[in-house]
Structure formats: C-alpha cells, structure tokens
C-alpha cells in the first residue's frame, strides 16, 4: 500500500492547458475522490497517475518512487474504466487472470486469486462467461475483480458507476466502500456525481477547469466551501446564491438583498466590515431556509424573508419549494407535511449561523 503525491502537475494538449498546477497528497489507505464538472480534467489527471498520459510538468510519486517515467505496468496500480474495458474475446476468468499471467504468476496462484476475488464480488458462477453474456452490473464487478486480483498499491477508478442504473449505483457504492475497508488500499476515485463524492470519499478534491478548488473531508467541504463554485457544486439541490449589499446600522451589520435583510452574526462581523456598502454573494443552502410557521427557535429581527411559491416538489421525506423573493429565485426545504401551494405567499426564516459569504468578483469565501 502506498501514498500518492502529485506535485505541481501540469498537462497540456497542444496549447490547451487541461490540468494546471495540480498538487495533491493522498495518504496511504485513503479513499480520495476527484470530483468536478464534465471536461474539467479529472480523467486526464487520473490517467497521468496511471501512466497512460504523459505529464507535461511536475512530479507524480507513488509510495516513495517518482513514477513519471515508469510505464503503467511498473507503477503497481490498477484501474477500472468507465466502460469497463473488458476484453470481449476472453472469458471472465481470462479477463481477470490476464494481468497475472503476464506477471508470470503460477497457475495455482492465479486460480486462487481469481477465485478469491470472484467470491468477494459474487461473480464466482460467471467465470466461464464472455463479457457480452453479462449484465452491466456484472461487467462492472468483473472490471473491479480484474483490479483486485493484482493486489495493487493503488486503485484508480474512473467513473466506474456511471453506466449503472440508479439503484445498482447505490448498491455498488456501498460495496466499493466495503471493499476499500477490507483491502485497506489507497484509492483515487473520479466522478462527476457529487453524491458519490460525498458518500464515498474520506476526502474530496473538487476540480474546475483543471485546477483544484478545495480538498477536504466531505463534511468540511459541505459546511465550509472555500469558494462559490464549491458551494454550488456540492449539495443537491444546490446552494442558493444572491447578491447582497453590506450595510451598517448602529452596532449591527446587515446583508441587504433588496427585498429583505439578514443580520450578520457578531462572530462574522470582522469578516464583513471591509465590505461595507459593497456587494457580496450570499449563499444559503436550501435546508437552512425554514418555513416560519414551523421554525420557532432563535427568531430574531432581520432574518425573515417572504416570497411567492412558484413550484412545490414533494419528495415524500421532504418538500422543496421554489420561491421567488422578488429579486431572486431560491429553493428551500420544508416539512413533508407542509400545506404550501403554488402562488401562496410564504414567510421564511434564514438560519443565520449557516450562511456563506463570497466575494463578488473572485467568488472566494470571506468567512474562513
């Protein structure tokens, strides 16, 4: 098992800078998730770690070795591809055994490892089949099995679940996590799905346009996003953003959205003071905006807003409301038994402990 370090890694295709000054240290045994929108360079980064793509500049270290110039097979990694990339002309057994054969393992050893992996993944009865005789979920398991049998130092996953249906994805998510616990291996896992990132990662690395935006554990990323992009990317439905002007009245500091005002808590006052009479981006997560009727706690002057309900989305466990404040369209989460109807006027309370504030130009958080 081993750590993986990327030091100031760059990747250019011609003139296009795809990965920019990427530095990340993944400690031994960590499940690290690379997440970001489509085309942000996640796969490219992963492929550089695998050795399938050359590094334009910077260093990649696996264990204690700089591996920039090592071919993939000598890096002691295994990779699972989005489309599984099983060899169509080989049986499941042969697919899993292929790499071991090339490494000159003895036949009994190969057979033992393949059977063991097949047992773990519940595909022992499929070993004689060809990939085309398998369902999507089974192929996915075989692809994982092919990685497991090699007992690599590092597993690399490139969106391995994105071709599965929603139910199977949830199931495989849990299974991969269990597998990680059992194998105690280092994993770098690429996905564009923030739910996968949140549920699976020990740490999440959020990327945008080839640069790292934030690296932290899921909860910190969720509660303390470094910038507006992270705040908007992590969480579903996404964080509400609105422009608000900072104004001071007496001792108190307020954020004025235009239609309503929110009092800034005392502990954030120092962060906000430099922006008096300037605009900030106010970020509030849907679950931090409450129906005034059901929210009795901590009701203070200056954190109530009202708006007209546009859309009601009942999910069973909760209801999401799309509310128009007059200036912004926001989403908030209310109780599943709320009787709110479209076109109702609703009063909402903002939990001021949970607000996020970002600089208007740079999008950086000012609350850190």
């Amino acid at each position: 098992m081993a750590r993986v370090i990327l030091q100031n890694v760059w990747k250019r295709f011609g003139d296009a800078e795809i990965v920019k000054d990427f530095s990340l240290e993944v400690p031994d045994k960590e499940f690290c998730v690379l997440v970001g929108p489509s085309g942000c360079g996640k796969s490219t980064t992963l492929r550089m770690v695998a050795g399938l793509e050359e590094v334009t500049a910077g260093d990649i270290i696996i264990g204690d070795r700089r591996v920039n110039d090592l071919p993939p097979k000598d890096r002691d990694i295994a990779m699972v591809f989005q489309n599984y990339a099983l060899y169509p002309h080989m049986t499941v057994y042969e697919n899993m055994a292929f790499g071991l054969k090339l490494k000159k393992f003895s036949d009994p050893e190969i057979s033992m490892r393949v059977k063991e992996a097949a047992e773990i993944l519940g595909i022992a009865h499929l070993l004689d089949r060809k990939p085309k005789q398998l369902s999507g979920g089974q192929r996915q398991r075989v692809a994982v099995g092919r990685a497991i049998v090699r007992k690599p130092k590092v597993f690399l996953f490139d969106e391995p679940l994105s071709n599965l249906d929603a139910k199977l994805r949830v199931q495989m998510r849990a299974e991969l996590k269990k597998m990680h616990e059992r194998l105690q291996s280092t994993i770098i896992y690429v996905t564009h799905d923030q739910t996968e990132a949140m549920t699976m990662g020990d740490r999440i690395c959020i990327m945008k346009d080839g640069s790292i935006q934030q690296v932290d554990n899921p909860l910190s990323v969720y509660e303390k996003p470094d910038n507006r992009f992270v705040g908007g990317f992590i969480g579903s439905p996404p964080m509400n953003f609105m422009e608000a002007e900072v104004i001071v009245r007496g001792e108190e500091c307020f954020l004025n959205e235009g239609m309503f005002e929110i009092a800034v808590r005392r502990r954030y006052k120092d962060n906000v003071m430099p922006y008096v009479n300037k605009k900030l981006i106010l970020g509030i997560r849907p679950e931090d905006i409450h129906d005034k009727l059901s929210f009795t706690l901590n009701l203070k002057e200056g954190n109530v807003m009202s708006g007209m309900v546009d859309v009601v989305e009942p999910l069973g466990s909760e209801i999401f409301l799309h509310v128009n404040t007059g200036k912004n369209e926001i989403i908030c989460r209310v109780d599943a038994h709320s009787k709110v109807q479209p076109n109702n006027i609703i009063e909402l309370v903002v939990d001021t402990r949970k607000i996020h504030l970002f600089e208007a130009e740079t999008g950086c958080s000012i609350l850190q």
């Binding site: 097979k73 990694i77 990339a85 169509p88 002309h89 292929f98 790499g99 092919r146």
Partner: protein, 281 residues
C-alpha cells in the same frame, strides 16, 4: 373486407413483387455458372446446339478426367495453393502490422507517411509491372516463387482497410492492456488481432480470391512449366484455332471449387457483427 385484410393482401403483393425481382436477379447471376457446369458435362458436339439444354444428355463425366490429364494440373494446383496462401498470409500480417502502427502508435510524420502510402493506390498496377519486373530480374528472382509471392505481400489497400477497422476498436481496451502489462507487440497480437477477426478474414478472402484467379502477373514472371499457376493452365485449353470448350469448362470448375470453398467458409465471419460487448451496451 376489413382494412386489416386489405393491408395483409397489400403486404403479400409487395412481397411477391420483391421476391420475384430478387429471384430474377439471382438467376441472372447464377446462370453463367450453371451454364459452365452444364457445358463441362456435355459432349463436344452438343456445345453449340440451338436449343438451350441445361441438363446434358448424355452426361459426359470423362471431360473432367481428360481435362485433368491434358495439362499438369497437379503441379499447377500446388503452385496456386502455395502462392495464394503465402500471399494471403503475408498480406494479412504486413497489412495488420502497418495498420496497427498507423492507427494506434504515435510517431512524427505518421499521417503524412500514411497518406503517401495511400497515394500508391492511385497508381494502376499495369504502370508498375515493368519496373517491378526489372527489379525482380536484377535480383535474379524471375521464374521463382519469390517473384510470384513477394510483390503481392504488401498492400496499401489492406493497410487502409484494417487501419479504419482498428480505429473503431475502443482505446480503453488498449489502456487496460497496458496496465495489465502488455507490450505493444502483445497488444497487437493478443488484443487487436483477435478482435479484428471479421476484418482480417474479409481481407484474407479477397486477397486469396484475387490471387487465385490472377493471370497476368504469373504469366509475366514465370517461364518454366513448373512455376505456372492454374489460370495459366486454363488458357492452354484455348488455342488460336480451336478451343476445347468442354475441357475448358471442366477445368474451370476444378479451379473454381477451392475459391468457392473459401468464400463459403468465410461467409460466417464476414456477416458476423463485431462483438465489442465487453464494453457497455
């Protein structure tokens, strides 16, 4: 009559028309072969009768024996088989290797070299006959298997066709193989080739058939009897003054059989879709 019935009848009529047309075309295609078969079993006196008699009376089997005796068929057969097989094997090998390089490896000037190679397809074969002849002559290879085989082993067309096919194979397979520890050679040999069976066998079939019936080139480069191939042998039946039609047709049938076999055996591969189902959906 309901609408349903009318539609059903319409469907039958449509099918009837379609099938009649297809059968008509089928007969037009097959008829020359049947006529050849028929002639090969006729008595020489019946070849040019006015009536269109498809089943000869009497059936003259001995035409075949005579044709076989008339020229050194055994030797020609062996030459033809050896040359066609060697050219086919060689061409499939060189074409697939070149195609792999042109489709999968990255090296400077790759695409311009490929374009240059393709451009050679624009040059008619006749134009290079004399240069190649002179080349073989100066190598001292005339009238040998080398002369019959080597010029046919390299093919821009085969390279082009296989390159196009290889480019449709998913790159992830190769990446997976690299991680599994394959060298480039092994990727070519154990991943690319097995997945390209349909394309390879199509190329092999066309090469074999093309070579089997090749007349001009063997005629040009061979002089001794022991180097001749079947198509040249057949031309022996055709004299300036007389042509022994029954023997010529019997000989042609004998020559045709292996080609037909190759075609029938390959049909499965050619019509078979490409099973790339190790990949999604």
């Amino acid at each position: 009559m309901t609408l349903y019935h009318i539609m059903k009848i319409k469907k039958y009529v449509n099918h009837a028309i379609l099938y009649s047309l297809l059968i008509l075309f089928g007969i037009t295609m097959v008829f020359p072969f049947l006529w050849m078969l028929s002639t090969s079993l006729k008595d020489p006196s019946q070849v040019f009768t006015a009536s269109l008699q498809l089943i000869p009376d009497p059936i003259v089997w001995k035409n075949y024996a005579e044709a076989w005796e008339a020229i050194p068929f055994g030797r020609f057969y062996m030459n033809s088989v050896a040359v066609a097989l060697a050219v086919t094997l060689g061409q499939v090998l060189t074409s697939s290797m070149a195609a792999y390089a042109f489709s999968r490896l990255k090296f400077p000037g790759r695409d311009s070299i490929f374009l240059g190679y393709l451009a050679t397809m624009m040059i008619p074969g006749m134009v290079v006959t004399i240069p190649v002849f002179i080349l073989l002559k100066s190598l001292g290879w005339l009238d040998s298997y080398k002369a019959l085989i080597l010029p046919g082993v390299f093919s821009a067309y085969g390279t082009f066709m296989l390159r196009q096919f290889f480019m449709t194979l998913p790159a992830d397979l190769e990446d997976a193989a690299k991680i599994d520890g394959c060298s480039l050679w092994r990727i070519y040999w154990q991943i690319i080739l097995p997945l390209s069976k349909p394309a390879l066998s199509t190329l092999a079939m066309f090469t074999f058939l093309g070579n089997w019936q090749s007349f001009f080139w063997p005629l040009v480069v061979t002089s001794s009897e022991s180097m001749k191939t079947l198509p040249i042998g057949l031309s022996y039946f055709q004299d300036i003054y007389t042509t022994e039609w029954t023997l010529l047709m019997a000989g042609s049938i004998i020559v045709l059989v292996p080609a037909l076999l190759v075609f029938i055996l390959n049909q499965k591969f050619i019509t078979q879709g490409i099973a790339l189902t190790g990949l999604k959906g």
